[in-house]
Amino acid sequence: MLEVLLLFGEAVMLFGALGILRFPDVYTRLHAASKCDTGGAMSIILYLVLTMDAPGIVKAKFLVLAFLIAMINPMVSHALARGAYRYGVKPEVVVDMYAWDNP
């Protein structure tokens, strides 16, 4: 029954990779990358923690890894989006709300 977690993680990883391949500009690709990294990786690591037979300290290390992924990954995505905007890449959208606040 726990295999649902692993299959969900694999599906999220696969569709995130397809999104990175097919989306039109940096910001939509960043959306797909951030979602597939955080959700898929945490789901797969949670499956590994729940099914393996190992001492408790090893399971604690896996949980620390999942916590670090949940903390670090959105931070890096945010910094990359701001860096790409300041670098000069304009988003291919109709409404650019970031430019209203930061002229």
Binding site: L21, V58, K61, I69, I72, V76, R82
Partner: protein
């Protein structure tokens, strides 16, 4: 056992998606595209290392995964700061 086969299939699927994103790293039109692709590939490598650590029963590899994740985050932040300061694509 069945669980071993599931883990092996997850390993191969992660390697396959990393090879798909390698296209975006090589052919990305701008610099931020390549940085996004490299960050995604490194997170996939962290998950691959965790799966191998469970599959082979060698649990010291998880320390390697944690260190690789931290180094990747610092590298991403430094590249973002560089892009912010460089300006003018």
């Amino acid at each position: 056992m069945a669980q071993e086969g599931l883990l092996v299939s997850a390993f191969y699927l992660l390697v396959f998606t990393a090879m798909l994103i390698t296209y975006r790293v090589l052919r990305g039109p701008t610099l931020p595209d390549r940085v996004v692709g490299l960050n995604t590939i490194t997170t996939k490598v962290v998950v691959i290392i965790a799966i191998v650590a469970v599959m082979r029963g060698e649990y010291y590899l998880i320390d390697l995964a944690i260190v690789l994740l931290m180094v990747n985050s610092v590298g991403g932040l430094i590249l973002a700061k560089y892009m912010e300061r460089a300006g003018g694509a």
